[in-house]
Symmetry: D2
Subunit: 141 residues, 4 copies
């Protein structure tokens, strides 16, 4: 269940305290989300150009347990959950070897770009949810 | 009550969707926190060098209501609250004219850098809390 | 001659070495460019949305003399120069009090977004060049 | 000759014009430099903590030929050159399939952190230069 990807911490992600700057851990989570989309066959260029449909983030939260340092190899374990026909949530677990270093959540709403109103998730996103999600079944499609 | 500062959105804060990248709104919040420290007479260079005491962020969360665009003049209204003798929370309201565009919270723990254990907030931070905080009185000092 | 703006270094601009990350000094330069556009009456939202005309950067270079630290108040002195009817260059001097800490250059080409070909600088940019530039006269318009 | 690494462009690297923000191409170059260090057996955490020796960047320049978009898989080809016993230069070629999209250079000086004066490159850096560099021979060690 879920999608797993590794990220090696880069120097520009750290701050003057010698550890990853807090907001950059959310950037790392979002990069893992992008990788999970690509791994499900979604074309990132088209997806994020967002000409018809976009998935703005309505909420993000993160709990930090341990600091991350330059060169650390973090494993990001990501699990999306369908909330309703026009929104989903993603949970992220960041681990260093077997130690949990951070946990985060992002909540996304599917909107039509023209009028910025909610619209149903398109088939490719239902497929992505089924592929990596923890829903009990695959009947969303 | 609270500290207020304005920020004009810069181009590098936006992403390919033409709006401020979600994690950058937390960066904007943190910059407001830094400004509130400086406005209370705290030396930022020393504070963030964190040789003896540091204030790592244990939790951050944010709710997005409206997108922000390049050139937008956002007003950040920040209110710190003392949680106990070694931690505090900051609430942020981001507004565009009178419209709330985002609300965020960060939770900070005061630690001694040597052993990374909790320690009491030093006087300058108690003073900062009294100065901008919404605590009922100023007897913390 | 030129446009001058101050910037106080923020924590997210620093890296694990405790000083501003090299590429962030170019971000600071670009923010000063944005401020100079706004100060000449140019609407940043429209300018950077770039629906008809865009000004991609063709070249950037920077020499670093002294490190910058969190809290430092840098003065950016910016001078644009018209290169020909479809391009311009900007020189930046970053100073800490009277000490030069970095010098940078960016070169921009004016293109029509539809076909990504060079096109003449519009009146508002000729005006911006005259306003802040070091050209001997204002006959460009 | 040289070190080659691939990078898939992430959404946070793009800006409101829908392409990679100019300074982020230097960030991509620096990440490739970090990967080349790790690939030569250098411990990134220790290297960038820079307790005794640091390698500040004295100069950076970059020429942009084509814009990069979210999802693009860029190949970074990096070649370091020893300039003298305390400094080196790195050349970067960024390619999309066989098309050159950008060329960059960074110049680094080896300093002792205690007094911020130039000092000779340590053995591990001479080895890194020999490993990926285009020097005619390997007698630097």
């Amino acid at each position: 269940m879920g999608y797993v990807v590794e990220h090696q911490v880069r120097f520009h992600e750290t701050d003057g305290a010698g550890v990853v700057y807090f907001a950059n851990e959310l950037v790392i989570c979002h990069s893992a989300y992008e990788a999970s989309l690509a791994a499900a066959g979604i074309e990132l260029g088209v997806f994020f150009k967002a000409e018809a449909i976009a998935y703005p983030i309505a909420h993000a939260s993160i709990d930090y347990r341990r600091p991350l340092r330059c060169g650390d190899r973090v494993t990001i374990h990501l699990t999306p959950t369908r909330l309703d026909d026009s929104s989903f949530e993603i949970q992220y677990h960041l681990k260093l070897r077997d130690t949990l270093v951070a946990e985060a959540v992002t909540r996304h709403v599917c909107i039509s770009v023209a009028d910025r109103r909610r619209c149903p998730l398109p088939t490719e996103m239902e497929r992505w949810l089924t592929r990596w999600g923890d829903s009990p079944s695959g009947e969303e499609q």
